[in-house]
């Protein structure tokens, strides 16, 4: 039972039908630290949870590029994870026609105790490539990430930027027809960002579908065909990018404390 069940006959590329996901309060994005355990022991944390998203209905057509906008904690990451199937909805159903690549916190999959080469196999495997496929893609990955001399050194020696770029390169090597990204679509230094952007534009021209959580810096506005705005667990706007951005600005003005926290990445 693979996580992403595909439906080749589906008309849309991605289809959210009345989707809801309920996650216990305070558990999101936290991991299981000691404090967490203690709080649970004291009983402060109830099991009730809250609806991060509810009644979400949306579709993404093949070849479309959709920006997902919203304030902090508006459920953007959950929306993307649902799209990729790395989260199972409590209500409703998410259907997909082709394999979806989840570019979500990619760097977190790396194991610092592994060498660069081993980590390429690890992340490649996590993203659905077989070791055989990784082997074929390996030279190109190492070349693009500029890691050729260090391939058998431990990854813990590499800088954060290098790790980011490596994760990005591996993700691109999967050649997935649908890319779901939480920021991360463009990474690294200025030169690398340009390289990434070129690659992403090429993929878009070749028909890849994109669903990206971002704040859409001005120069990327042209990349997206549509914007979905999430707020209070639901979709509050779905349409032209300019309208979506205007809507987001209104939301920000209404609650200035809520920052999106994703300004530096596309």
């Amino acid at each position: 039972m693979a996580r992403q069940r595909l439906e080749p006959d589906l008309e849309e590329m991605l289809l959210f039908a009345d989707v809801g996901i309920n996650i216990a309060k305070g558990r999101r994005r936290q991991g299981g630290g000691r404090r967490h355990r203690l709080r649970r022991f004291v009983g402060e944390q109830s099991r009730t949870g809250s609806w991060v998203l509810r009644g979400v209905t949306a579709q993404v057509a093949a070849g479309e590029s959709v920006a997902v906008l919203g304030l902090k904690n508006s459920g953007r990451t959950e929306f993307l994870r649902l799209a990729a199937g790395t989260l199972i909805p409590d209500e409703g159903v998410v259907r997909r026609r082709a394999p979806v690549l989840p570019m979500i916190d990619l760097g977190r999959a790396f194991d610092r105790g592994f060498t660069v080469r081993q980590n390429i196999y690890l992340l490649g495997g996590v993203l659905g490539m077989t070791p055989g496929e990784v082997e074929v893609a390996l030279p190109a990955i190492v070349e693009t990430a500029r890691l050729a001399p260090n391939i058998d050194k431990y990854l813990r020696g590499a800088s954060a930027l290098t790790r980011q770029k490596l994760a990005w390169t591996i993700a691109m090597a999967t050649k997935a027809p649908v890319i779901v990204a939480d920021g991360m679509l463009v990474v690294g230094d200025v030169e690398s960002r340009k390289q990434c952007l070129d690659q992403v534009e090429r993929l878009k021209a070749a028909g890849t579908t994109f669903l990206v959580s971002t704040d859409v810096p001005r120069k990327f506005e042209g990349f997206f065909d549509r914007a979905i705005v999430l707020h209070n667990g639901g979709i509050v706007a779905d349409g032209a990018v300019a309208d979506g951005l205007a809507h987001l600005r209104e939301l920000r003005l209404a609650s200035p404390a809520a920052d999106t926290g994703k300004d530096d990445t596309l």
Binding site: M1, R3, I23, T86, A109, D111, G125, V126
Partner: protein, 265 residues
Amino acid sequence: MALAYRNGVRIIWEHRQVLRMLVLRDLQKQYTKFRLGYLWTLLEPLGMALVLWFVFTQLLGGQKLGLQPYFLFIAVGILPWWWFSRGVAGAARTFRRNPAILRMSVLPTKIWVIRVVLVAMAEYLLSLPVILIAMLATGTLPGPLIALFPVAIIVQFFLMYGLAMLIAAGAAVIPDLARIVRIVLRATFYLSPVLYSIANIPAGAQVIAAVNPLVGILGLYRIGFWPTEIDSLPHYGISLGVTVAIFIAGSVLFHRLEGRILKEG
């Protein structure tokens, strides 16, 4: 039963390439961490067996515990026990170690459990030369029933797999379970016939003791060396039944909790 097979056994075959890679990497990581590398896999159980042998034959010599030669008896028992205890402890950490991997992994969630199970099993298989060493040291050769040894490995694999699904899913939802598991493990060591034979305990208690799946598994491992262990065969049947029940329960629970586990990512 069908679900347990479909989602439990077939998944391993379908993802064998990725699994082989994950397991080899984990083993390599472990063996390159220490200077003596692989040797520790032999030295550690060997040292443990020596200590136990010394305590129970030299210090507390009068007691008739287990079967003779006792050093071999301990060695044959301690290795599967280590597989058991390490496998169970590892299972509790499955989704605690790096829950973030659940955010971007398109592999079936169960792969991470199978990885832990297979690494523990590989370590066990690599430690088997300890039994050869014990055979040499005691000058003992096994009889034809040693053919049941591989059967015991297969049964223990399914036990470990079922337990790992139960514990990994449980610990992902209730973190405290990892602590409870540690305490239960310690008790299980004394409740399992590692230091003694099932024949050593009162006849009336044997049926109850056999609910512990390790009774049957350790019996099967030992039959080849001590044919009298076959006297307890009916008890092994009980153990086997419990193993099957644990495997099915693990499959069902994991399937039910998968959505909850993913939310931990």
